[in-house]
């Protein structure tokens, strides 16, 4: 699955708004890749949940909700 593409500009804004003044390009690309990986995983799973519910090609919010992984984050 090729997947979509999230704009590097958009990704960089998250880091700047968190308080960074300078951000290396590979930092931005690393975050972009993480977001795209999550987006593709959720999208792929959501299509399977829709199929399971008898919808072949229509994706609804509840498919996205079911498709999200559990995250063990910590807000440091």
């Amino acid at each position: 699955m090729a997947g979509g593409k999230i704009s590097l500009y958009d990704v960089e804004q998250f880091i700047r708004e968190a308080g960074a003044e300078k951000v290396t390009e590979d930092a931005v690309r690393n975050l972009e890749q993480e977001l795209e990986k999550l987006a593709q995983t959720i999208a792929d799973n959501a299509v399977k949940y829709a199929n399971h519910a008898g919808r072949k090609k229509l994706i609804r919010k509840e498919d996205i909700v079911l498709a999200k992984p559990i995250m063990q984050g910590k807000k440091i």
Copy 2:
């Protein structure tokens, strides 16, 4: 933290490329919110890891890597 904004168009492409022909708007918004939540969490944590490493305002890739949550996903 207001956070950035990921384009709804970009988010919808991930779902379409996973095989969807139709996607409801609230499905796209729900996935967008999930991606933004992850982006903000990683960005906020990355700034703290940078500070911990003695860098006040420069964010590097290794800060992003440390800041990622563990995901318990399943590829269904």
